[in-house]
Symmetry: C2
Subunit: 211 residues, 2 copies
Amino acid sequence: MGKINFKPGTMLNPVPAVMVSCGNEEKHDIITVAWTGIVNSEPPMTYVSVRKERFSHGIIKENGEFTINITTEDLAFATDFCGVRSGRDVDKFKEMKLTPQPGEKVACPSIKESPVNLECKVREIHEYGSHDMFVADIVNVRVDEKLMDEKGRIRLDLAGLVAYNHGEYFALKRTPLGKFGYSVMKAKTKKRIAGERRQNARNKKNRKNKR
Amino acid sequence: MGKINFKPGTMLNPVPAVMVSCGNEEKHDIITVAWTGIVNSEPPMTYVSVRKERFSHGIIKENGEFTINITTEDLAFATDFCGVRSGRDVDKFKEMKLTPQPGEKVACPSIKESPVNLECKVREIHEYGSHDMFVADIVNVRVDEKLMDEKGRIRLDLAGLVAYNHGEYFALKRTPLGKFGYSVMKAKTKKRIAGERRQNARNKKNRKNKR
């Protein structure tokens, strides 16, 4: 068996599925976006690509700000809803029972139920055809306290995060395949990490039992 | 419990983890990239952000082409290796026993073991600081025949795809949380889809038994 050539298409998978909130107290909206990613590390920069005709497009263009809200298994239904319906017809915060939280460095509301919020300020807009790409600086990051462990580390592996794969939403498996650099890691380091993982699992179990 | 503010960082998760192949028959390389995504649907466009000092950076800039190779659980080790080691020191195709496949519309080799290859031609380079962003047109898509089902659909849900989450590689769970639009779907449509899913599972089982 070999490979089949297809006409060019957006076949990169999996990609993120995030809820992007925008606007201010009077006029706001949420749009679900899969066309997002990190474009630079120092300074931290991201983008969202949004169709010109979407309600959020005008709001982001007008205000030059948006907030990326990371999504979880619990938020999958709301994530889908915010990608299908238009803010012209429905207040998505109200309809999906999501709680707007005032931004720290931007005027647009964050989604309280999302474990991680990235507040962004638009730097450039590139028009590529169907979508406009809003390239932005990440100006503030907010993380749910529940995701911090005893050592002050952010435990996104426990957040139940969701990815978008070829038209469907998928949760990530609980146990990682490996850490960045594991392919060249010394046996000793690997052993230490495995030990820490077992200890973390025990801690988690103990915390649960104490409740 | 509330939320904690952190200094700006690249906290968007999960993101893709792809192997990007570049170059030609004489000089080629593979670099693993998490800073990638789709930026436009019509025409299909993507990007990869690569640090200026990486070996692949020069090759992509020189040739104006690259190929995105989607990664799987089986390719996780090679994916990590190609992100850590430099093509200046090691031939990553040889070292990881990956098979170069001639490109269809670009000179750079694809990775045969990857289930989906996206051949790309660079349109713009944006310099943002640590990384250069290569914005590109997707000019050809190649998919492994094994992923095509009886109805001619591409079954990426069966490919064992991998995402990158806060420094670790994770596989996706097998069963999706829902299809795009499921939050507004009629009960009848949902029932039909569930039936099809059961039938597909039975077909898969039968195929396995026949082997």
